[in-house]
């Protein structure tokens, strides 16, 4: 029973993490993580700046199909 509960919890956690990644909630966290690992020289954007910059990039190329 405990095993089932543990598995369910793990599944729900993964689902939640996937949902946040899918809808873009986790985008800033990914950006910060990537920055920390690769240590790019340019200034780190704050959350609001990153949000706008990310949208401008995303909607400047075909991203929705017919």
């Amino acid at each position: 029973m405990r095993k089932v509960a543990k598995r369910t919890r793990r599944f729900l956690l993964r689902f939640w993490r996937g949902l946040r990644e899918w809808c873009g909630d986790a985008a800033y966290e990914s950006y910060l993580r990537s920055k920390a690992v690769h240590g790019a020289s340019c200034r780190t954007l704050n959350e609001a700046e990153f949000y706008v910059e990310q949208l401008n990039r995303r909607y400047s190329r075909p991203n929705r199909c017919c």
């Binding site: 899918w22 809808c23 990537s34 995303r58 909607y59 991203n63 017919c66």
Partner: protein, 703 residues
């Protein structure tokens, strides 16, 4: 033992699929249950994924999981982000699934359920999925380059330029035709118009919230937005019941055209965070919910399919659109089977986010299979209504007659019995003034969906709510494609204009933004206007034009893919992309020729223009209608010219490619591949996310 069991299970799935397909194909007489369609489609998809996509992955493309993908090599947390394959599958599917797989099969139902269903399944398995998968692979091997860039490098400079021009031209037609679908869905419908109009302030509200209050918190904002949208769908009924507000939100076709053009311009020129992006978030959630609900509804209700397998209109005399089953069934069902536009997504965001090459099969091939399944469900929803009702909703008044009595008599004379009261009662039940002559596919699909949903939850009492929810769902994500497409089109116009006058190409220069937005909106707006005033309903001329354009773009993508396979030395397996290419070229060239030169005025643009010109010359056109008729003649000739330009662009690219292939095969030219050099992945072969978690944190889920 395990292997034997697996083989037996796959054999059982294959036999079940073959049996269900056989039942669909040979069944005559009594209505068929929709479950046969679901079983046939699912079994065929499973077998195609298990066998054909595995063959393409292993033999044709030789996917290499030891090779670092662009997401690993260029990981910047912005464009290049290593992403879990399930999450990326969701991203990719949300990007490729638009109104096409819903509207196309609904329109093609005029031939009966059989041809469309077979093409949806076979076309996806052997054409559309292969195209998406191979282009995704090619782009991964080239650092996520776009289709145009790959065409330029692997085929020729001219090929790349043609591909870019084709994308712009097809985008203009696409935006016009989907806007026309919205106009026909909202025409004279205060409830639907109010609901859709309210999505704009809701999106603006979310935009401000996401920008200033809680930056980037998409999930919570979307939940609020969806709740507000459900509220306005219900509130629309009060608007429709109020004499004053009902009058305010009752717009004619031309009124809606003006509103959509103003909206498109605003969405393109305003900051993206304010209107476009929040609307896209709402659309993505509602799209996922509605598609899932439709699948669940079909499984629960298991409706009877009332449309016959083949109708009399396979001879080309169909009221929804003119043209014989070949080639127009394959042109009309564009996105559910093969869609050239998908190649722009497969060579856009997805290749930059893929974790490893092996995932390309699941994401590229698998997402397209799911889109095809959406098309099959749309076909079921359209065919589950009485054929007479289907034709009444989708036929223009110039064919069935302007009054309910005349329409019912005409449709009954075709062998699909219909009483005028049936349409009156149905319109009343769904909360509309009328359902006659609502060509475009959206209203008939909404009726089909509403019948399925109301049989699941709420019964006939909720039919009107479900109908308007379905209309809102279709219109919402059509407008999302419209505004996102207008913005991308604006950038293309700016890029082209920047070659002539440099400041015009600067993306942040406000006069350039306004002018380029006006140009792209004027381009699709003109075709939209032309469709709205077309006496044949607009869909008759514009949807085939869009279908031809979309399939031609698919041919462009497959030509590029074939060239790359040839350069990779996969001559033995070249048929994997070559056969769909040849098929698409034959289909689109035949359709283009017929749309331009067919002697029937309903089918051929030039014949229709000439007929009208003769009527003017013979003095048969009243003076009051002279200007409109002359405009109609101009529009028909313009459509013929656009079709000819599409066909010529693709012919030039095909000739360029054949010359390349000949040069390579005859060893006159060296086969130079423009792949990125091999770099071994840092992640182990049996990567499960742990290695990446260690390297860049704990973002990834299991593989």
């Amino acid at each position: 033992m395990k292997r034997i069991l697996s083989s037996v299970a796959w054999l059982a799935i294959a036999l079940l699929g073959a049996g269900a397909l056989g039942a669909i194909a040979i069944h005559r007489g009594e209505p068929l249950n929709a479950m046969w369609f679901v079983i046939a489609a699912l079994c065929c998809y499973l077998v195609a994924f298990r066998l054909y996509s595995a063959f393409v992955a292993a033999k044709v493309l030789a996917l290499d999981d030891t090779r670092a993908t662009p997401a690993e090599r260029h990981d910047d947390g912005r464009d290049f982000v290593p992403t879990n394959k399930w999450v990326l599958f969701g991203h990719h599917f949300a990007a490729i699934a638009g109104p096409g797989p819903l509207v196309g099969p609904t329109l093609a139902a005029q031939f009966g359920y059989l041809p469309g269903t077979l093409w949806l399944i076979a076309g996806a398995a052997f054409g559309g999925c292969v195209q998406d998968f191979v282009i995704l692979f090619c782009s991964i091997r080239r650092d996520g380059k776009s289709l145009g860039q790959m065409a330029r490098e692997e085929v020729s400079e001219r090929g790349g330029f043609i591909a870019q021009l084709a994308v712009l031209a097809i985008m203009v037609i696409l935006l016009a035709v989907i806007a026309l679908v919205v106009v026909n869905a909202l025409k004279s419908s205060p409830w639907a118009t109010f609901t859709l109009a309210m999505t704009i302030p809701i999106a603006l509200l979310l935009g401000v919230y996401l920008r200033f209050v809680r930056p980037g918190r998409v999930l919570e904002a979307s939940i609020m937005g969806v709740a507000l949208i459900i509220f306005v769908v219900v509130a629309g009924q009060w608007v429709a019941d109020s004499p004053y507000w009902s009058h305010v939100f009752t717009l004619s076709g031309l009124g809606l055209t003006a509103a959509i053009i103003i909206y498109g311009f605003s969405a393109s020129a305003l900051p993206v965070w304010l209107l476009l992006a929040p609307r896209d978030y709402l659309s993505a959630f509602i799209k996922a919910g509605a598609i899932f609900s439709l699948a669940a509804g079909i499984l629960l209700v298991r409706p009877q399919v009332l449309m016959p397998p083949l109708t009399r209109f396979i001879d080309g005399t169909g009221p929804v659109f003119a043209g014989k089953i070949f080639p127009f069934c394959f042109i009309t069902i564009a996105c559910g089977a093969v869609s050239g536009f998908h190649s722009l997504i497969s060579s856009g965001t997805t290749p930059k986010m893929i974790l490893r090459e092996g995932h390309a099969r699941f994401i590229g091939y698998g997402a397209m299979l799911l889109e095809s399944f959406v098309g099959v469900m749309a076909m079921v929803a359209a065919c589950a209504m009485t054929p007479g009702v289907y034709f009444a909703i989708n036929s223009p008044p110039s064919i069935v007659g302007a009054t309910a009595d005349a329409g019912a008599a005409t449709i009954s004379s075709w062998g699909y019995p219909l009483q005028p009261e049936t349409m009156t009662n149905l319109a009343h039940a769904v909360g509309e003034i009328t359902l006659w002559n609502r060509a475009g596919g959206a209203p008939s699909l909404a009726v089909g969906m509403a019948q399925i949903f109301s049989n699941t939850i709420g019964g006939p009492r909720l039919l009107s709510i479900w109908y308007h929810f379905a209309i809102m769902f279709e219109a919402l994500f059509i407008l999302t494609v419209l505004d996102a497409g207008t913005r991308v089109g604006r950038f293309m116009v700016q890029e082209l204009g920047g070659r002539i006058w440099a400041p015009f190409g600067r993306r942040g220069w406000m006069p350039g933004i306004l002018l380029s937005s006006a140009i792209i909106v004027a381009m699709w707006g003109y075709f939209l206007y032309q469709g709205v005033i077309d006496p044949l309903g607009g869909i008759n001329s514009l949807w085939p034009l869009f279908g031809i354009g979309n399939q031609l773009l698919a041919a462009v993508a497959l030509v590029v893919a074939t060239t790359i396979l040839l350069k990779m030395g996969r001559l033995r397996w070249i048929w994997v992309t070559l056969v769909p290419t040849v098929w698409l070229v034959i289909v689109t060239m035949t359709a283009s020729y017929q749309k331009i030169f067919d002697p029937s005025p309903r089918l051929g643009f030039l014949a229709n223009a000439n007929e009208l010109a003769q009527q003017i010359a013979a003095g048969k056109i009243a003076a009051a209608k002279m200007v409109d008729t002359q405009r109609l003649i101009f529009n028909l000739r313009l459509d013929a010219a656009v079709t000819a330009i599409f066909a010529c662009m693709v012919l030039v690219l095909v000739v360029e490619a054949i010359f390349q292939w000949y040069s390579i095969l005859s060893r006159r030219r060296e086969a130079i591949l423009h792949e990125s050099p091999y770099i071994a992945t840092r992640w182990a072969k049996d990567f499960s996310g742990a290695a990446h978690d260690a390297a860049v944190g704990d973002a990834m889920g299991d593989d």
